[in-house]
Symmetry: D2
Subunit: 154 residues, 4 copies
């Protein structure tokens, strides 16, 4: 069975699949993972002092999603409990990947994995190298920890 990486997750959220997440086939609606991914990732940036809606004003850059993809590994259905885990993936000069693993809590099986590629842009929308303030966070996240201890939010 597919398994999750050995490195600890930066952040996670646990929820039970409900009617909103499943379809007439009784299994996960394929698009349902994406809002959960955004929700966890946005909260992670928020908890690290990087509110995406204030990045431009406070730090002079925007982060923009330029690519996302998801692999569906094991079927899951109504009322299955899922833990979604966040890790940092590849970091480039002007972009980085956030990795998302969806784990069924009843048996620890990895049921889906996904990534979101984020690029940094200037306020007028041009690509730009990852700014130092963000690079320091990414360096820390690559080691599996927040730059500063963030509050523990369920």
């Amino acid at each position: 069975m597919p398994t999750t990486p050995d490195t600890p997750a930066l952040h996670s959220q646990t929820f039970r699949l409900s009617y909103a997440d499943t379809d007439p086939a009784g299994i996960l609606y394929y698009a349902a993972w994406f809002p959960w991914m955004e929700r966890m990732q946005s909260e992670w940036f928020f908890l690290n002092g990087l509110r995406q809606d204030q990045l431009s004003e406070r730090h002079g850059f925007w982060s923009v999603t330029c690519h996302t993809e998801c692999d569906y590994l094991v079927p899951v259905g109504l009322f299955d409990e899922i833990r979604i885990e966040l890790r940092l993936g590849r970091v480039g000069r002007g972009s980085f990947d956030m990795l998302h693993h969806m784990v069924r809590t009843s048996d620890g099986v990895l049921v889906a994995k996904a990534l979101i590629t984020v690029v940094t842009v200037t306020p007028d929308g041009s690509a730009t190298a990852i700014p130092p303030i963000l690079q320091r966070h990414l360096d820390s996240w690559a080691d599996g920890a927040a730059l500063e201890q963030v509050a523990d939010h369920a």
Copy 2:
């Protein structure tokens, strides 16, 4: 069987219920109507020159949803084609109702009806009487027509 009002609709949109709209019971997911309602109503305001995101800047007021409700009359399911129709309902001093009727196109049966109550507020968020620019539109909509002919958008 439930039927729609005799007055013509101000605006309508037709779509086929898909996996996103239905649930493991094979029938409409109860929350699915609301985004369709917002979509049609926002487009109607847009087509009438009342872009909600520019009302404050252009006309000095905001419109805010303060109440919504929906009655589910007849079960519908995957791949049923639905026409959602918009009409003006009750108009008060500082609020008005937009009425939404969901009709199954195969037999014209009214499958759900709903309303959205909108209040007008000043830019700082205080309740205010419906401004004249909006009142003129509402008077026209009460007669079942746009104030000026709007472009025909499918």
Copy 3:
């Protein structure tokens, strides 16, 4: 400021409003509460041994949503943390209301309240009186507690 009822909630869930829940006005997208309501209410029925997708097979009836409504009391926006609380409302012969209160956790203010009316029907879809198995649960919920202690699920 609006406040929640004094009776304890039967069930609750806490989450942070994210991009999926908010719109270009920077405030809650009006339709966003409904999936959260369904999610909590479905989990409550599940935790009480009343899986909605197995009611017919196991107990000989279906529960169907026939009405829902929501009042938006206080504006909330991106990253606000919300606790949604579930209580039993009016109980009739063949229907009952589940009450939902949305509370901003930072100050305990009630920001929205809503209800979902559920009717009980026979497997062929005819209205039927609330069956005894469900009535026993409702009697217990009216007192603010589960019929039997349910497992504690975050």
Copy 4:
């Protein structure tokens, strides 16, 4: 500017981005494309006599989404009108890709492109070669046309 392929689309749908599709940044919510993709693709299979919820019973196999990905090329926002176009991509022995292009109708610019990879499985969930009934459709779609003329549904 990015452009769409020269081959005609098999199917398309046109809609205006609304509050449900956009976020507090005023631009498309990254997860919004996926339900639109599913909606168009499911309708295409339905119009071709391949209702996904009846494939097993009628034809002895299931189609399952195993991968999806999306590239965001050009920012779009509230009230932009979008045409989403469907084409067949790579066809393998037991899987195929459906390609989705999102085009801004005001200027014909390709604003996003995506794909959904579908695998065919036996009713018990094992991978299986694409069955002949489906292969005939895919051969036809590769030439840019339906196997038989389907009804014209807006």
